[in-house]
Symmetry: none
Subunit: 182 residues, 2 copies
DNA sequence: TATTTTCCCATGTTATCCCATAAAAACCCA
DNA sequence: TGGGTTTTTATGGGATAACATGGGAAAATA
């Protein structure tokens, strides 16, 4: 009953050390790769197993919110949400910036996953990202996005085109060494 | 008998560990997402289950007061009220600022919830926020707001428009690298 | 006593739980 | 190295619990 498409990156549980603690074998705990998963008639969407693993490793729950700039949903862990909350406290309550951040929070939901690793997308989310029966989940490092598949492909093509003509952005590789920097 | 609209975030009680202790799964106890609930002819409004849970977890009761800056009501727990009280203490009692904060307090009431999780909105509250038969409850982190639905939507649209043209406030990204933040 | 407010129960709709299945990946052993 | 076996993963659907909501009765208030 699977659309028979691509496959992600198979068995992931086994990457965990048997003691339960993570292997740390160069794991970076990032959201990478992309997946096209089905949205069933109840509105459920499977979160890719590798993403689930990233969240599980930090015992974090998943938050989804509506992007401020694109017709897609964004997924992240609690840290990002906490950042927004803290930033609001530091701003003038009446400022437009604060209002923008509040808009983000009022669209953010802590998602509860069922035993199979699925989340239930609200009607609001489905409409906002123009999702119907399948979704493209694209990892972008510390967060990921959920797109209507066709829209995502268009966007990807455009980005690759820009890279060829306009050049690739320089990567600043040296980052001030910080703690927790694996 | 439900307006058949949005899909909230269902069962929340079950997030509690069965031992009684909370899950602590990165729970941040924030008011997030938004809900459009009905106000019945008695003036009752259901507080979203997830908000109730936030309050219950700290065994706190709910306070509502009239916003100083917008035509909406604000909801919070006791600690926010305490903050205001403290702020007043630190100000010159005769200053205009103190007076402003006092105004907030004088509109605040501790709400009592019925067994179904509803509060009874006073005539004063209803008029102030221009509420009639439904209300939009929007979480903004440590507090939430209650708006007349149309007014809220207008506001949200405006905020998103500004974000698209004017950019998104940057969040402080510097922190120990972790998953899911981002 | 007249008017609220609170309590209690009823209801339809959703969300959640639970079980089942197929395909793909990982595993295993010769 | 290959082929068969076991897990994992994504998916579907039925049963069940939770939720938002409505309304009557009891209690409190004026």
């Amino acid at each position: 009953m699977r659309p028979a498409k691509k496959r992600g990156q198979g068995c992931l549980k086994k990457q965990l050390g048997k003691g339960g603690e993570e292997t740390a074998r160069g794991q970076m705990d990032l959201f990478l790769s992309h997946f096209e998963n089905r949205i069933d008639r109840k509105g459920r969407l499977s979160v890719p197993a590798s993403y689930r693993l990233v969240l599980e490793r930090s015992r974090a729950s998943l938050y989804l919110y509506k992007s401020l700039t694109h017709p897609c949903l964004e997924g992240c862990g609690p840290e990002r949400i906490a950042q927004i909350v803290d930033a609001i406290d530091r701003l003038d309550t009446l400022s437009e910036e604060a209002e923008t951040l509040q808009t983000m929070l009022s669209s953010a939901q802590e998602m509860k996953m069922d035993a199979e690793g699925r989340v239930l997308l609200s009607e609001d989310f489905l409409q906002f990202a123009d999702l119907s029966d399948s979704a493209l989940i694209a990892g972008i490092g510390r967060s990921f996005q959920i797109w209507q598949p066709a829209a995502w492909r268009t966007r990807e093509t455009a980005a690759r085109g820009r890279a060829r003509t306009g050049g690739v952005p320089k990567l600043t590789l040296a980052r001030p060494a910080g703690p927790g920097d694996g």
